[in-house]
Amino acid sequence: MAVDTQFHVLAVDDSIVDRKLIERLLTTSSFHVTAVDSGTKALELLGLQGNETRDSHHHDHHQDAEVNLIITDYCMPGMTGYDLLRKIKESESLKDIPVVIMSSENIPARINRCLEEGAEEFFLKPVRLSDVDKLKPHLIRSKSKVQYSLDNKISSYEIHDEVF
């Protein structure tokens, strides 16, 4: 039985040229990539549509498509990369997914805002292979974090039962 050890990266960018480039950079670095052109599409793929819906059938140990890292452009029409970052960090099921922001503009205030909101890294465009190399540590760390929180979730369900 083959275990999929490849990390799955969701890339978000409204520019078709940049999507092609980031896709190639990530594939070259042995990541499995899904590229979408908007924050809205990204949220759909992640299983969040507008307000988070959680019904009793949805065991949220898996997102609809398991994503290990999200890399998004900052400047996009409609939902910016920052908006997307916030939505992800506000979501119970998604907040532990590392998010990386890309931007063509080197604006310290922008960079700080993103890092404060929980972005792991901020890459200046054009993104290079040396940038993509920085992603692996975030992925490995988050995989073990997810495992830890899963273990803890089991015990918190038990406590819940006692309360009721």
Binding site: S15, V17, D18, K125
Partner: protein, 152 residues
């Protein structure tokens, strides 16, 4: 020198001139490094996407500047997008031309923007032609059984 060697020499000289005349910068070299056996046509694919995207952006810029009341935010957005894509493939001169739009947009200077657009269209046409020559040289080399020289 046989035909292949001659073509390879031509290719190297042409590539060097594109860099020395700033049509291309190091980002293009980065793109070439990303092509390999599994993705041999990567550079042509990206550049082709760039052509399609650019032509759309040039049309958008043109239309935006033709409006009776020009929305300079829109113009700035299109120029910013074009700046991004040209920067991503290493199209140095085109990128620099896109940067010039910003000041004119902030001043809400229609004439300035139009002059800028004209120069941008020129730069784009020249670059496109140069790419076509470059890709043709590559094709000729491969067809004659040779290997396309790489930088480094």
């Amino acid at each position: 020198m046989d035909v292949v060697q001659m073509l390879q020499r031509q290719f190297i000289d042409y590539m060097n001139s594109l860099y020395s005349e700033y049509y291309l910068d190091d980002q293009f070299n980065q793109l070439q490094k990303l092509a390999d056996e599994s993705s041999p046509d990567f550079v042509i694919e990206v550049v082709t996407l760039f052509f399609q995207d650019s032509e759309k952006l040039l049309e958008n810029l043109s239309k935006a500047l033709e409006q009776p009341v020009v929305d300079f935010n829109q113009v700035a957005n299109h120029a910013h997008q074009f700046k991004g894509s040209s920067s991503s493939i290493g199209a140095h001169r085109v990128k620099n031309q896109c940067v010039k739009f910003r000041a004119y947009c902030e001043e809400k200077n229609r004439e300035g923007c139009l002059a800028c657009l004209q120069e941008l269209q020129q730069e784009y046409i020249v670059l496109k032609k140069k790419f076509e020559i470059l890709f043709q040289l590559e094709q000729d080399i491969v067809q004659k059984g040779g290997i396309v020289p790489t930088k480094d």
